[in-house]
Amino acid sequence: MSTLPSPHITDESKYQLKQEIMTKIKELALRFPKKNSALIPALHIIQDEFGWVPPETVTQLAEILQTHSNKIYGVLTFYTMFNKKPVGKYHIQVCRNLSCSLLGAKHIIEHLSEKLGIEPGENTEDDRFTLSQVECLGSCGTAPVMMINDKYYENLTTEKVDNILESLQ
């Protein structure tokens, strides 16, 4: 076939799960007594790859785990760690729960908001940063705390936040 790929097809291939990821998920499913237990771990793997869970991958995952896409959407939308839309290269998640707010989490969030020029829940125009407020990260002894992608940053001050942001530029 010599026709040019339509934009739709380009998109689909963009979110096509690589063979190695599919193999990884299939192997994972064998580690549990029932393969459905691999669903949440598989969603983590997909998010590690794309930064979020694109709808196209849900269809592919449903095939691998022999389940329905709707069931996967039910799970995907229940758990807050899964991103349902694209996030920036750096996803900043600041804890707003009690121990962190006692030690100035609000100030940290406002500072980040001002520095990045976005409100919590938004992405910067260049898609480098997403700012989110989250509930307790289980790091209350080193509050205030934020996560950037998979990494924790603890005992935050505005100066420390500035240095961290600079190191990411």
């Binding site: 459905n36 949440i40 009690l98 289980g138 002894g141």
Partner: protein, 415 residues
């Protein structure tokens, strides 16, 4: 003065404890060796004798929970370690998982043998990705040393552990929601009974224990029930990892015998209130525990003393607030959390908490009306006892106590 007791945290500052040889060089796997000298029933009896109570929050006697498993084994049995650690103010289990993973893995292997379990799971909160990786490496190391897998230590016991990360849902700390999550479903609590010991993971008998509880199992089998009971208070045996956060000079996790006085924990272990300020309030056992005012902190931090004081030991997560703290703001922070984490199944929790949030917001924004404070109290009462799991009740009770103890501050917001 009070004295730290390092029963579970002695390796916290030692590097590379995920290596079996390092762990064994300091008494590691003596507990499992001792366990294999006993029958499973004898281990359950020893744990009952130790009077170990669950460290996740409820304080239920572990040996008795284990005793609820069916005598006849017609289906696989499972053990799940609850490492979800989501209760605000709680950051203790990560100390064990991150710095002494084999202490937990040994405890889970002993428990697995005692419970005749076919497989163990560690359910860890999704954000602790690097800790999940530490656990996976430690499990692999244990497998290589024949301490997990087929025919462990040549004793004919087959058992392995899988690590599974959650994905940011507090409710998955509730044991039936956790089981749903391991099954790859939305984390919505189940109707009980049947309890997990009868119908649990994949409809098979399942025991769910907290990380710290399972670490205590290692201690009890390395030593014995009597040694364990030498630490702690009446019917609250052993030590506790107290996590102290908020307005203190030295926040952190401290291991002391159960029953250690709250005042000493705040002023001695955690170095007192930050910036020389006065203490205003303390939440002693994670956000869901009833708030205490500064006059109520002469309290022994064990299960029963806390209940007598109308609060709870919970997870031992102590949140300290200084004189400048606004309790209505604390209440709003708390209610925001419970609403965010409500699974949405039960109307009183889903809708009731949202109503309380709206009234609190109005109060704080200067739009409060006479009678609002009583209306909140009425709403909290309507949530109590009308939900499948304790989440809604916990949120309601936390707010109710804040109002009852600091009512004036709420009333002052009404102009």
């Amino acid at each position: 003065m009070i004295e730290e007791k390092k029963a579970l945290t002695r390796h916290i500052d030692v590097a590379d404890m995920e290596q079996v040889k390092n762990y064994i060089s300091d008494g590691g796997y003596e507990g499992l060796k001792n366990a294999f000298e006993k029958t499973p029933a004898e281990i359950v009896a020893e744990v009952k004798k130790s009077f170990l109570r669950g460290r996740g929050g409820a304080g239920f006697p572990t040996g008795f929970k284990w005793g609820f498993l069916p005598k006849e084994k017609t289906k696989p049995f499972y053990l799940i370690c609850n490492g979800d650690e989501g209760e605000p103010g709680t950051f203790k289990d990560r100390e064990i998982m991150e710095h002494d993973p084999l202490l937990l893995i040994e405890g889970m292997t002993i428990a697995g043998y005692a419970l005749r379990a076919d497989m163990g799971f560690i359910y860890i909160r999704g954000e602790f990705k690097w800790i999940a990786e530490i656990l996976e490496r430690a499990i692999e190391n244990a497998r290589k040393a024949n301490l997990l897998g087929k025919n462990i230590m040549g004793k004919g016991f087959d058992y392995d552990i899988q690590v599974m990360r959650g994905a940011g849902a507090y409710i998955c700390g509730e044991e039936t929601a956790l089981i749903e999550s391991v099954e790859g479903k939305r984390g919505q609590p189940r109707l009980k009974p049947p309890f997990p010991a009868v119908v649990g993971l994949y409809d098979c008998p399942t025991i769910v224990n907290n990380v710290e509880t399972l670490a205590c199992i290692t201690f009890i089998l390395q030593h014995d029930a009597e040694t364990f009971k030498l630490m702690g208070a009446f019917q609250s045996a052993g030590t506790k990892l107290y996590g102290i956060s908020g307005h203190v000079n030295k926040p952190g996790v401290y291991e002391y015998p159960l029953g250690t006085n709250l005042k000493d924990l705040i002023f001695y272990a955690a170095g007192g209130i930050k910036d020389g300020k006065k203490l205003k309030a303390v939440i002693p056992g994670g956000l869901s525990a009833t708030i205490l005012n500064a006059d109520e902190i002469n309290l022994d931090m064990d299960f029963d003393s806390c209940v007598k004081a109308n609060t709870m030991l919970g997870s031992g997560g102590i949140i300290v607030m200084d004189e400048d703290t606004s309790i209505p703001e604390v209440a709003l922070t708390a209610i925001n959390f419970y609403i965010h984490e409500s699974c949405g199944q039960c109307t009183p929790c889903r809708e009731g908490l949202a109503k309380i949030q709206q009234i609190l917001k109005n109060l704080i924004n200067g739009k409060g009306k006479t009678g609002d404070v009583d209306l909140i109290l009425k709403l909290t009462k309507s949530i109590n006892g009308s939900t499948l799991c304790p989440l809604g009740e916990a949120g309601a009770a936390a707010i109710e106590a804040m109002i009852n103890k600091f009512r004036e501050e709420f009333e002052l917001l009404i102009k």
